[in-house]
């Protein structure tokens, strides 16, 4: 018996507990009820370690060690172990940063914006997506911290009072980044944790070892599942959703300022903020699809993460992919319309210059392949969506690479034009960030409820007091009710 689901016979405040029943697939399949959901989800955290998990973790940790080794080498030798040069000061580093920050977008979007829009289908994916967000932001932070020449002074970017009387330079977009990303990371982490409290309490109550009881006990912050607690919880959750919503837009807007505020042709573009946000949502959802397709099989959550969830996400990928494609087109229009020769050169150089291969990789991955999602057959095919989601992430990595490197490598004065080739350490660092991300994600899957137990129960038909199928018994209990504010 779960303590996390309040049981009430009162009429719910808002009675819109279920998705519109007409013509839509239910969000929870397989006849799962309150108890079986709890069993299923808590079982992952409390049950036996799945056989494949240690292997997966070993792989992820080895990649993490690659990251450690690469960064260790970087710090001991200098940034020169990467492939940048005097002309191209940023390459894989900031590409990786923007890539991961972009991926970190979907989680908060799902948990905050979709929450505010009452998108019920978010409930079974929001936990994992938020976790993904936080881990992606952590992976992203590796880059700004380590790409600087003197890592040991990277903290000078923070506004810490010091004996030098020096304050960071507020005109610099990099500084805005520091604030935007740190705020985003903090709020996302808190939002995630707040959502986790009731579920940690469930785990605490079901834990069979002392250690687990203590750890989950501490994490659940003394949650008792009282009405009052639920009320506060819902309120807090909503406030966080409200706070996070502008952050979803602001963080990538400000990341795009790194480029848009500069004077470099190809960077200096006013369309960047919306373009970056759309791209971030695009890549974030693609990453969620990639992970969920694997996780729902591996963790046996097919009934909770259903085809309908996946299809919805694919639709968002289709929509944002189209927006991104539109932005690519607008860049050409502006280059032509502005009459700026440097701008039009930068664009033509992207398309036909030495990095044309990267540009066309980007266009095909980001614009062409997602269009296949117009077809329901493809949209609902697991192998197809898995492949396309990966293609989209490859494409989005290339988008950042194209923006950063092709703009830098040929700017105003032709004598300094150059070409960038990544070094082995560039590659190992990037692969290593996947190690960090996957390690954290695997640990999350094993020890943290991957699905918001409390929330997902709220979308069960049984949770709806008006449900005509109320007779459909949820394990002999009355329907639980969510208290939406």
């Amino acid at each position: 018996m779960s303590t996390s689901v309040p049981i009430s016979n009162e009429k719910p405040v808002a009675a819109v507990n279920t998705d519109d029943p007409v013509g839509r697939h239910p969000l929870v399949l397989g006849g799962l009820g309150f108890k079986s959901i709890t069993d299923r989800v808590a079982g992952i955290s409390l049950g036996k370690t799945p056989k494949t998990w240690p292997f997966a973790l070993a792989l992820a940790v080895s990649l993490l060690m690659v990251l450690g080794g690469s960064l260790g080498w970087l710090v001991s030798q200098g940034v020169g172990v990467w492939g940048m040069n005097s002309t191209i000061g940023w390459a894989w580093d900031i590409t990786g940063f923007v890539f991961w920050i972009g991926i970190g977008h979907a989680g908060t979007l799902i948990s905050a914006i979709l929450y505010l829009f009452r998108q019920k289908w978010r409930t079974s994916i929001n936990r994992a997506a938020e976790a993904m967000t936080i881990f992606a932001v952590l992976a992203a932070l590796i880059y700004p911290a380590f790409h600087v020449g003197r890592v040991w002074f990277a903290y000078w970017m923070l506004p810490i009072p010091n004996q030098m009387g020096m304050w960071p330079q507020m005109k610099s977009p990099l500084l805005w980044d520091v604030f935007a990303v740190s705020t985003y990371a903090t709020v996302s982490a808190l939002f995630w944790f707040v959502g986790l409290v009731p579920d940690f309490a469930t785990l605490r109550d079901r834990a069979d070892t002392k250690t687990k009881q203590i750890v989950y006990g501490i994490l659940s912050l003394g949650w008792r599942g009282s009405h009052r607690a639920w009320l506060h919880y819902e309120r807090a959750y909503q406030i966080f959703a409200g706070l996070s919503t502008p952050l979803v837009l602001s963080v990538h807007t400000i990341v795009s300022f790194d480029f848009a505020v500069s004077i470099l042709p190809g960077w200096h573009t006013t369309i960047f903020p919306p373009y970056f946000v759309a791209g971030a949502i695009f890549s974030g959802f693609a990453m969620v699809v990639t992970l969920m397709v694997v996780a729902r099989t591996a963790l046996g959550l097919k009934h909770l993460i259903t085809m309908r969830h996946l299809e919805n996400m694919n639709k968002i990928i289709l929509a944002t992919g189209t927006m991104v494609g539109y932005a690519y087109g607008i860049e050409f229009f502006m280059a032509w319309y502005s009459g700026n020769p440097y701008e039009s050169f930068a664009l033509m150089n992207r398309v036909f210059g030495p990095y044309a291969w990267a540009y066309w990789t980007m266009v095909s991955c980001n614009v062409l392949f997602p269009q296949l999602f117009w077809f329901k057959k493809i949209r609902t095919s697991i192998p197809a969506m898995f492949a396309i989601s990966i293609v989209v992430n490859v494409g989005m990595w290339f988008e950042r690479f194209v923006i950063i490197v092709t703009s830098l490598h040929r700017d105003y004065i032709p004598s300094s034009w150059s070409y960038y080739r990544p070094s082995l350490v560039d590659m190992s660092t990037f692969v290593g960030t996947f190690g960090l991300f996957l390690t954290l994600f695997l640990l999350f899957c094993r020890f943290v409820p991957v699905i918001a137990i409390g929330e997902v129960k709220g979308v069960l038909p049984a949770a709806d007091p008006h449900n005509p199928h109320d007779a459909h018994d949820a394990h002999g209990e009355k329907a639980g009710v969510e208290h939406h504010g």
């Binding site: 030798q77 200098g78 940034v79 020169g80 492939g83 940048m84 040069n85 005097s86 002309t87 191209i88 000061g89 940023w90 790409h147 600087v148 020449g149 003197r150 890592v151 002074f153 990277a154 000078w156 970017m157 020096m166 304050w167 960071p168 330079q169 005109k171 610099s172 977009p173 990099l174 500084l175 520091v178 790194d258 505020v261 500069s262 004077i263 470099l264 020769p341 050169f345 830098l408 040929r410 700017d411 105003y412 004065i413 032709p414 004598s415 300094s416 034009w417 150059s418 070409y419």
Partner: protein, 997 residues
């Protein structure tokens, strides 16, 4: 610097024994073992070579030298600063005049010395060959002083010897040779113009009458002297005053960079085209095979194989004859048949040039290059004579030759032959590196092994020292006394700046030992010099102070042409055959003849044409490369002249077809840490016949590929108005044409601009019409600002650190492009994009308009470099300054931070010089720094004074005047960065008759 404990006095067994610990008191073995742990291995020993104490000795000795303007104190004394030597103020550099003999002349220098360490070279304004500026070689040679590969003792068959032993040996050898009248002794020197060395060699000839004294230089001026002998009956020294010429024709002569007195010639050339002063610009025609610095500055350039240049010269003579210019009886007629086989384009050049020369008598000059045979020189002299261009106040002046010794390749083939005949018992080689740079057919490396006693005086163990029985460690030029006469005979003293760091001896001192004397170098130089002055001591002091003996220039010699000899020579002239591919040899752009191969600054200094560093390549024209089926970087085998080399190809813009341009001086085999295996040794195909220009070569692709380390990869301006130029016609029509090449929209600032109309406003003007692209400024900047060297790998990754670079652009076809050079450095934008993006405010604007870098604050985000539209910011990707030995550190300018890893750096407008001038102005009670008190390092070095720096707020300053030039323009005004550097557009003075040629 590593700290060396003071050596302890020998222990007195009877003395009281103080102990520092119980362990020591007990004298336990554990304690003794623990000692090295506290004082790490080696700490108790002086470091290898020279340590701090030696350095202090040296410093003290140099401090003694510091007082030289007054008197010279014995070098042995250490001057404790408790009693400060006169003139020395710690932290204030002192400057001493000295001389750098090079390329057949001598450049007067002022060397900056910080507490006894020579750090930087400037030109001596009083010296006629320097005119206050330097060549890139004079700038860079100071680094060789601190070359860690220098040997610190003589060696005999690989065994280290002391100088006492070496001296005993030399004296004994001298005695032995005296007994046989010097029979079997050959003394081989480098080309020199040193009166003291000449005197010493004269003494040697007297004492050892049967000894032979020979001279060898891998790039000799024999052809020129033979030409003078042919035309005027005797060898002479030619000095050019190009300012007096309105038409300059160079026949394979790089007069602006490597042929003759380059500074003086370049200065004259530029003075003759200063259109802002209302000068009607001169016109430079360059006839050459390889695009030289001179070719890059040409108004019209004809690319023609070097072996065809004689035909061009003779055709020009014949054409002049037709126009009524009297070259002397029969010369034009004799030249005509030899001037055949030219292309249509070349013929057009001949006609146009001849017409212009004939119409500008007394104002035209034809200069033949070192590579060209004596006949070409002779004809050029006759043309100049006929055009009334020779004599006092004319473009060409002749002075008495220093001596009549030859120093070309036959010297070594003859020497090797006489070694083969067992005529040489003792070979004394004073400097040079003949085993490396002798002609291939001399087989000098084999020959030298047959000599019983061979002695080589050299700073490092080079290829020659590896083969000789004795290696004597030589002083660097800045460590020894000497003297030199420049081309016009001006005598100057080579004054040491520092006591020998590695305990070397100079060639004067070695000869003195051989002759059994005991005079020091100082005594000898003084003795030579004092012969000439009436008030000896006073004159000596003044010469030391000024760097030149005033009025020591030789008078201009009157010359009488000998056309008969020329006619005869022309009749017999054969020239180089036209078979196969032509190969030309020129001194390497980095290593010269190999002597600078171990100089990292020069190795990393990009060559002017394709910006290659760290190595050499076979220059091929675009068409020839296509014909051979090779691309840039492909490795080819060049075979001919009984040998072959494999060398990567560089496609050289403007290279003549079927002509391979090679440099000699790279590919050193000796174990030198910088030079080893850099580039390719072209020596194996350099024979004494065809030493400069050779024929009958073939080239095949090997299939290999070498990525050249180049600092510039893109040579087209892409139609952007970067380095602007116009024809003289355009200039006359609208002098402000350059300003109109880019839009100048009205733009607004996001934030208030700093107030710039008070105090100083530092700015710069760079005249592209004066810039030759010689790169002396780049080396000067590197020396002044402690700019690190990144090595070939770093350059390949485009991470070179030069704060100032010379951009080279080509326009037109790859075979026949027009060329322009543009110095590019931090523009100190008033609205600097770099400043606004730095998150930690490490780069900020000074109230005087400098874009400052606070290295200590920089965390290295590189955002500033990304946002710099000029891409002049340089990032320390690694700790480039980590592995310097103690000697290398001595060169560093103490006024400039040696940057660590992970920080950004860039041109500071030599802020250390600005601040010194400001301090001095303040000390003198002035409110402003007077104009001309500050010269940035690049400005001071520039032979043509293309760079002007100063206060833009002072309307009378030189920089304000230059910046106000009608030709002035600023880069990227349309993005509102407001650079503080004004470029002055280049003017090409085209000959309308060569339109379309």
């Amino acid at each position: 610097m590593k700290r060396v404990p003071l050596p302890l006095a020998p222990e007195d067994p009877n003395a009281k024994r103080w102990w520092r610990s119980l362990g020591e008191h007990a004298g336990s073995p554990e304690f003794k073992e623990s000692l090295p742990a506290e004082f790490p291995p080696g700490a108790a020993l002086p470091p290898e070579g020279e340590g701090r104490r030696q350095f202090l000795t040296v410093m003290g000795a140099s401090a003694a030298i510091a007082t030289l303007a007054g008197c010279r104190r014995p070098e042995e004394h250490i001057m404790p600063y408790t009693r400060r030597p006169e003139e020395v103020v710690e932290g204030n550099p002192l400057y001493f005049a000295t001389t750098f003999p090079f390329q057949g002349t001598a450049y007067g220098l002022l060397v900056e010395s910080h507490e006894g360490r020579p750090t930087k070279v400037e030109g001596n304004p009083q010296h006629p060959e320097s005119l206050g500026t330097t060549t890139l070689w004079s700038q860079a040679f100071i680094l060789d002083l601190y070359d860690p590969d220098r040997t610190n003792s003589p060696r005999n068959k690989g065994q280290t010897k002391t100088w006492a032993e070496a001296s005993d040996f030399l004296r004994a050898e001298g005695e032995r040779l005296k007994a046989q009248q010097g029979k079997g002794l050959v003394v081989l020197t480098e080309s020199h113009r040193s009166p003291s060395l000449a005197a010493q060699l004269r003494a040697l000839r007297e004492a050892l009458p049967q000894a032979k004294v020979v001279r060898y230089e891998p790039f000799s001026s024999d052809n020129a002297h033979e030409g003078e002998r042919l035309a005027f009956g005797r060898p002479l020294s030619m000095s050019l005053d190009l300012a007096k010429a309105k038409t300059i024709v160079t026949l394979d002569a790089d007069v602006l960079s490597s042929d003759g007195s380059t500074v003086r010639q370049a200065r004259g050339f530029v003075a003759g085209r200063d259109v802002d002063k209302g000068v009607e610009p001169n016109r430079l025609y360059v006839i050459e095979s390889h695009l030289s610095t001179t070719g890059g500055s040409a108004d019209h350039r004809l690319r023609i194989q070097s072996r065809q240049v004689p035909a061009f010269a003779f055709a020009l003579a014949a054409e002049l004859g037709k126009l009524g210019v009297d070259l002397g009886a029969g010369v034009a007629a004799a030249a005509e048949p030899k001037g055949q086989g030219l292309s249509e384009k070349a013929k057009r050049f001949v006609v146009a040039i001849a017409k212009e020369l004939a119409g500008n008598r007394g104002r035209g000059v034809v200069v033949a290059g070192r590579k060209q045979p004596a006949e070409v020189h002779a004809v050029a002299h006759l043309i100049n004579q006929a055009l009334d261009a020779i004599g006092e106040g004319k473009p060409v002046r002749f002075h008495a030759a220093f001596d009549e010794d030859r120093d070309g390749p036959t010297v070594l083939t003859d020497l090797a032959a006489s070694i083969g005949k067992n005529e040489v018992e003792t070979l004394l080689i004073l400097g040079g590196n003949p085993v490396f740079n002798a002609p291939a057919d001399a087989r000098f490396a084999e020959a030298i092994g047959k000599v019983r006693t061979s002695i080589h005086l050299s700073t490092v163990i080079d290829e020659t020292s590896e083969k000789t029985t004795w290696h004597l460690n030589r002083t660097h030029l800045l460590e020894a006394w000497g003297d030199a006469r420049s081309v016009d005979g001006t005598q100057s003293i080579v004054q040491p700046l520092i006591a020998p760091l590695f305990d070397g001896k100079s060639e004067l001192e070695v000869l003195e030992m051989l002759l059994g004397g005991n005079r020091s170098g100082y005594d000898m130089v003084r003795a030579t010099a004092l012969g000439k002055a009436a008030d000896a001591e006073k004159g000596w002091r003044k010469a030391l102070h000024d760097g030149v003996w005033a009025g020591s220039a030789s008078p201009v010699e009157a010359v009488t042409p000998a056309p008969d000899a020329v006619v005869k020579a022309l009749g017999a002239f054969k020239g180089v055959s036209m078979d196969g591919l032509e190969v030309t040899f020129r001194p390497d752009d980095h290593a010269y003849d190999g002597r600078f191969a171990n100089n990292a600054w020069l190795q990393e200094l990009p060559d002017p044409s394709v910006k290659q560093t760290w190595g050499n390549a076979a220059g091929l024209s675009f068409s020839t490369a296509n014909k051979l089926g090779v691309k840039d970087g492909d490795v080819i085998t060049v075979s001919g002249a009984g040998g072959s080399i494999t060398i990567p190809v560089a496609i050289m813009p403007g290279q003549a077809d079927d002509s391979i341009s090679l440099t000699f001086g790279q590919g050193r085999r000796a174990a030198l840490r910088v030079a080893h295996k850099v580039g390719v040794d072209t020596g194996p195909i350099r024979q004494s016949a065809g030493f400069d220009v050779a024929s009958g070569f073939s080239a095949q692709r090997t299939g290999g590929f070498v990525q050249a380390a180049r600092t510039q990869e893109h040579f087209s301006m892409e139609g952007r108005p970067v380095a602007r130029e116009g024809s003289y016609e355009e200039f006359k029509k609208d002098p402000t044409f350059a300003k109109k090449e880019a839009p100048r929209p009205e733009l607004f600032n996001l934030w208030t601009s700093p107030v710039v109309d008070q105090g100083h406003a530092w700015g710069m003007a760079i005249d592209l019409n004066a810039c030759l692209g010689c790169s002396a400024c780049v080396t000067a900047c590197q020396a002044e600002n402690n700019t690190p060297v990144v090595g070939p790998d770093g350059v390949t990754r485009s991470r070179e650190m030069h704060w100032l670079r010379i951009d080279r652009y080509y326009d037109g076809s790859p075979d026949e492009p027009e060329t322009i050079s543009q110095p590019m450095l931090c523009q100190h934008c008033e609205s600097a994009p770099c400043e606004q993006v730095c998150p930690v405010a490490a780069t900020t604007h000074s109230p005087e308009g400098l874009n400052d870098m606070a290295y200590n604050r920089c965390i290295g985000t590189r955002y500033c470099a990304n946002n710099c539209p000029f891409k002049v910011r340089r990032f320390n990707y690694f700790h480039y300054n980590k592995d310097h030995d103690e000697f290398r550190k001595l060169q560093f300018n103490p006024e400039v931070t040696v940057r660590s890893r992970g920080v950004m750096e860039k041109c500071t407008f030599c802020v250390q010089r600005i601040n010194r001038a400001k301090i001095e102005a303040k000390r003198d009670g002035k409110t402003r720094v007077e104009d001309g008190k500050i010269a940035t390092a690049c400005q001071a070095a520039c032979p043509t004074q293309a760079i002007t720096f100063g206060d833009l707020n002072d309307p009378k300053s030189a920089v304000s005047e230059r910046a106000a030039s009608a030709r002035g323009y600023k880069l990227l005004e349309d993005i509102n960065v407001k650079p503080r550097i004004t470029y002055l557009a280049r003017i090409r003075n085209r000959n309308p008759e060569l339109e379309g040629a």
